[in-house]
C-alpha cells in the first residue's frame, strides 16, 4: 500500500503536480513535524520545518527518485531541523528549551575520538549502516529513535515497555559495540 502511495507521489512530483505535496503532507506530515518537534519543542517551528521539507522535496525530486518517500522526507526534515538548530545555537548560544538535542549531543561525547583515525564520511556512514543492520530489532529501534528521531528516553522506554535504565544501558552498549566494530575494522585505534 505504502509503496503504491510512494509511487504515486513520485510520479506526481516528476509530473510537477503540486498535489504531490498535499499527499506527502497527508501521509508523512506528522512524521516530518515529529522530528522537528523533538528538536525544538515548538509546534510553530515544527510547522515551518514541514514547509521547508516540502520545498526541499519539491526541489530535489526530480532528479532524485527515492525508494521510500517516508525515509527521504524524514531525512530531509531531520537535516533541516538540525541545521536550523545549529544556526540558532550559534547565534544565541542556547538551545531551545526542552530540546532533546543537547542531551543527545552530550551522550555522544564518547564518539569524539572517531577522528583519531582517518575515516571518510562515506565509509563511516557505511559502518553505521552495517552496525545498525546487525542490531536486534529492539536495539535498532532504540538506537534510531534516539539518534535519528531524537526521541526522549522516557518516551522510548514507555513505547517499548522497557525501563529507562534499560534504554540507557542498551544505548551505552551499542555505542561501545559500534566503536569496537570500528576498531576491529581497523578504522580506529584501541
Amino acid at each position: 500500500m505504502k509503496n503504491s502511495i510512494d509511487d504515486i507521489i513520485i510520479k506526481l512530483l516528476f509530473d510537477r503536480d503540486e498535489t504531490a505535496l498535499e499527499k506527502i503532507q497527508t501521509e508523512y506530515g506528522q512524521l516530518i513535524k515529529y522530528i522537528a518537534f523533538n528538536l525544538f519543542k515548538n509546534s510553530d517551528v515544527a510547522e515551518e520545518c514541514l514547509n521547508d521539507t516540502l520545498l526541499d522535496i519539491w526541489n530535489s525530486i526530480p532528479p532524485n527518485k527515492p525508494v521510500s518517500v517516508s525515509s527521504y522526507a524524514a531525512m530531509l526534515a531531520r537535516r533541516r531541523a538540525i541545521d536550523r538548530l545549529r544556526k540558532e545555537h550559534a547565534e544565541k548560544r542556547i538551545y531551545p528549551g526542552n530540546s532533546v538535542y543537547p542531551d543527545v549531543y552530550g551522550e555522544l561525547a564518547d564518539m569524539d575520538d572517531l577522528s583519531e583515525t582517518v575515516i571518510e564520511g562515506i565509509e563511516l556512514s557505511r559502518q553505521i549502516n552495517l552496525f545498525l543492520g546487525g542490531l536486534s530489532g529492539t536495539n535498532r529501534e532504540i538506537f534510531i529513535s534516539r539518534y535519528f528521531d531524537f526521541e526522549e528516553l522516557d518516551s522510548i522506554s514507555k513505547r517499548l515497555r522497557i525501563s529507562k535504565n534499560s534504554v540507557n544501558t542498551r544505548l551505552f552498549r551499542m555505542k561501545n559495540a559500534f566503536k569496537k566494530q570500528l576498531t576491529e575494522g581497523g578504522y580506529r585505534d584501541e
Binding site: S71, L108, S125, N139, I144
Partner: protein, 440 residues
Amino acid sequence: MSDRNRFIDLMGDIDPELLREHIEYKKRPSFIRMLPSAVSAAAVILAAVIAIPFFISRPDSSYPPDSSDQVTTAVEPVERLVLYSELSGVPAYDEDYTLPADGEVRIGGELEAALASDVAPDAAYALVLRVGSSEYLNNISNPILAEKANKIMSINEEEIAVFKEKFMAEAAAHLRIITEADFEYRKNIGNGGSVREGINKINEKYDEIIKSHMLGEISNDELNKAMQAKYDELSALTENYLTAHKEFQAQYFSHLEKLDLVYLQYINSLKDGLASAYGEYNSDIYQILDKYFGGDNIYGLWASSREYQQYWAALENRENGIAVEADPESLVRSWLEEYDQTLTKKMRNIIDWKVFSVDTNGMVTKHLSDSGIDYSLLAVKTVSEENIVTNDTDCVIAIMTKEQIETFNAPETVGVELDLAPFDWQDEDSDGIVYSLQRK
C-alpha cells in the same frame, strides 16, 4: 565539526530501507511490533488472532507515539505460556554477556528440553528467559542461594506454623472478648441503650410530680426538692454511664491492642525470619510487609465478615433467651482459619518473592523441584538490563505480557512452548512488568 556532530549528521544518512522499517514500525499497532523475524507468517497470524482479545480495545499507535498507547494490559491467567530464550546472543552486548551455545545451556530438565525444540510462539503471554554467562548457568545450584532459599522456605513451613497456632488461639480469645464488649456497650450504653431508658424513666417519674404541682397537689418546696432529686438521679446515671463507657473503652482498647500485638507478633515472626535469612533487616522486607499487610486491621476485617454478623445475632438471641443456633466459638474459629489462610497465602507470596529475589542484585531464582515440573530455575523479576549489567547478576527471567514480549524480544529469539498450567499469575509491580508466579 566535532566527531559527534559528524556522527549525528551521518545518522541522518542511514540506509533508507532501515529507516523505512523504523518508520513503519512506529506506525504499527503495538501488538505487531517486534515480533521475532524468524517467526513464520502463520505463527504471526496465529499469535495475532490469539492476542486480539487482549488488544482489541487498544488504539493503533500513530507516529508520533500516542500516550494512550502506553497502557499495560492487565495480566490474566493463562494455562500455556511460551518460553523464549535469547540463545544466539545479542550482537550489541559485551562479550561478557555472550551466551553459550544452545547445548551448553544447563537449566535443567524439561526446561532444557523445551529450549532444544523450536516451536513458534503462539500464546498471548510468554515467559522470557534471559541468560547470562555460562558461569552463572553452571552455578544455578549455587549453594549460597540454595541455602538462603531453603532457609526462608523452612521458616515458611515450620516457624510460621508455630506462630500460626499461637496467633489463632490468642486472636480468637481477643476477638470474642472485644465483640461481646462491643455488643454490651451498644446494648447498654452506645446509642443511648439502657442509659436512654434510665433517663426516660427518671423523666416520666418526675413528670408526674410536675403535673401534681400544676394541679396544686404539692407545694413549691416539694417541687424544688423533687427537682433536686431528679438532678441527683440524672447525675448518678451520667456518672454510671461515664464509668461504664470508660470501662468499656479500657476493655475494648486493651483487647484491641492485645489483638494487634498478637497480629504484629505474627507478622514480626515472618519479618524476623526474613531478616534472619537475609542476615539483616533491609528495606525490602519492610516494603513487602507494608505492601501485603500495611492496610490490614484484623478487627475491622472480622467486623465486616459474615461470621461476625452471625455471632452478633447469636449474642442477641442469647440475650433474649432464644436458643443460640450458631456456636459463637466456632464462628470465630472458622473466620480466623479463613483469615489465616489469606495471611498464609500472603506470606507465601512474600516468601516466594524473596526466594525469587535472594540475590542482592535483584537476580531471581527459585527451585521448584516439588512442583512436579523439575525446573532448576524458574523465576519472576523485572526485565531490566541493569540487572544484567550491574554487579554480578547474570540471569533474569521474567514473565511478561505478550505486548511486552513483542516489544522486548530480539529477532534472534527462539520460542518454545512450556506448559505452566500448575501455576497461577499473581500481581504486577508498579512498573507493570514484574509478576509472580504461584503454584495453584
